[in-house]
């Protein structure tokens, strides 16, 4: 039993170290410690399911230990910058003031194709439009466009838009979705009134959305 726990300790730190050494390319969306816990947890959880001869308590203890280690390490990371940098690494600027930092790109072992792909996923098709690009600790790319390439919005012209809120689904497949009524500040009687104006009842409606400004979309059944 104690052997299992010590092995879990060793494997946890070993895999964290390995993932840190592998770098950001292998990490994807998760932080290194999260990835380690995910990998080990899935394996450990499967052992007693695959082999009934193995005591369940071995896996239970290991999972408890892993979960507690993950929480404690994230708490220490919250309190200590040094620990956080050691475990999670730093965000890396690959484009600074419009210039590609080749050294930083080589350090994190990204290819130009990887950068172009990540930029395209951010709807940026021309690298010269980018002022700053940062590879975050979870491997995601954050992009800040040059000021003359930022898409225009109403605020660019100093105008404000009135808030219309999110269009909420209030009727779905002939049934009222009461939990969404508060999103568009409506009631059942108001929805019935709107529908009756269109010679419909809720039972005949496939989908109805409504926003705070009472803009509606109604799709009757059989349309």
């Amino acid at each position: 039993m104690s052997v299992v726990l010590i092995r879990t300790f060793i494997i946890y730190f070993l895999v964290v170290l390995a993932v840190r050494l592998m770098g950001k390319r292998q990490i994807g969306q998760l932080q290194p410690t999260e990835l380690v816990v995910t990998i080990i947890l899935s394996e450990i959880a499967a052992i007693p399911l695959e082999d009934s001869g193995k005591p369940l308590l071995h896996s239970v203890a290991a999972v408890i230990l892993l979960a507690s280690l993950e929480i404690i390490s994230s708490y220490i990371a919250l309190k200590s910058g040094k620990f956080r940098r050691a475990v999670e690494g730093n965000a890396v600027y690959i484009i600074k003031e419009g210039k590609l930092d080749i050294k930083a790109v080589k350090d994190i072992r990204f290819t130009i194709d990887d950068i172009m792909e990540a930029l395209r996923q951010k709807d940026v098709f021309d690298i010269s439009d980018v002022e700053y690009a940062i590879v975050e600790t979870n491997g995601n790319l954050s992009v800040m466009l040059k000021s003359d390439k930022i898409p225009v919005s109403l605020s660019t012209f100093g105008k404000k838009s009135s808030e219309k809120g999110i269009p909420a689904v209030v009727v779905s497949d002939g049934k009222y979705i009461y939990s969404n009524f508060y999103l568009c500040r409506t009631s059942k009687s108001e929805i019935d009134k709107i529908l009756s104006r269109e010679n419909l009842t809720a039972e005949n409606v496939m989908l109805m959305t409504l926003d705070k400004k009472k803009n509606k979309v109604v799709i009757p059944k059989g349309e």
Binding site: V4, I6, K54, A61, I64, A67, S68
Partner: protein, 124 residues
């Protein structure tokens, strides 16, 4: 903070589980080993020999729950088999065969104890 307290409690629980498991399995294997040891000693009457085996079976059944909770189950199937065989041999008045099986069980228990003892070899 609440989550941290839970995490520390979980850590303490898993360590306590390991420590308890370690000592409980050691005690259980020791107790069963002593019982099997007694079976190896020839008593004055056959009835007493049979009683010894029955007592050993009782001790085994009492301790096997603990052993099955903390140790891999397949390690004990041989002991269970030997215990059944021992009973048959003893009813057949074949003390020598029974004693040999008893010795096998002691060896197995010692091996299990060694395998699960906290040491550099077992960890690595």
């Amino acid at each position: 903070m609440k989550r941290l307290i839970i995490a520390v409690a979980m850590l303490a629980f898993s360590v306590a589980l390991a420590v308890c498991g370690y000592f409980m399995t050691e005690n259980a294997t020791d107790e069963v080993s002593v019982a099997f040891d007694n079976c190896m000693r020839k008593e004055k009457t056959e009835k007493k020999n049979i009683e010894n085996i029955k007592k050993t079976a009782e001790i085994w059944n009492k301790n096997k729950k603990i052993l099955f909770i903390f140790l891999p189950h397949d390690e004990f199937s041989e002991i269970e088999k030997n215990l059944i065989k021992m009973k048959y041999f003893m009813y057949d008045f074949n003390f020598e065969e029974s004693s040999e099986l008893s010795f096998e069980c002691v060896k197995l228990l010692k091996k299990i104890n060694e395998e699960h003892k906290l040491s550099v070899q077992t960890v690595f």
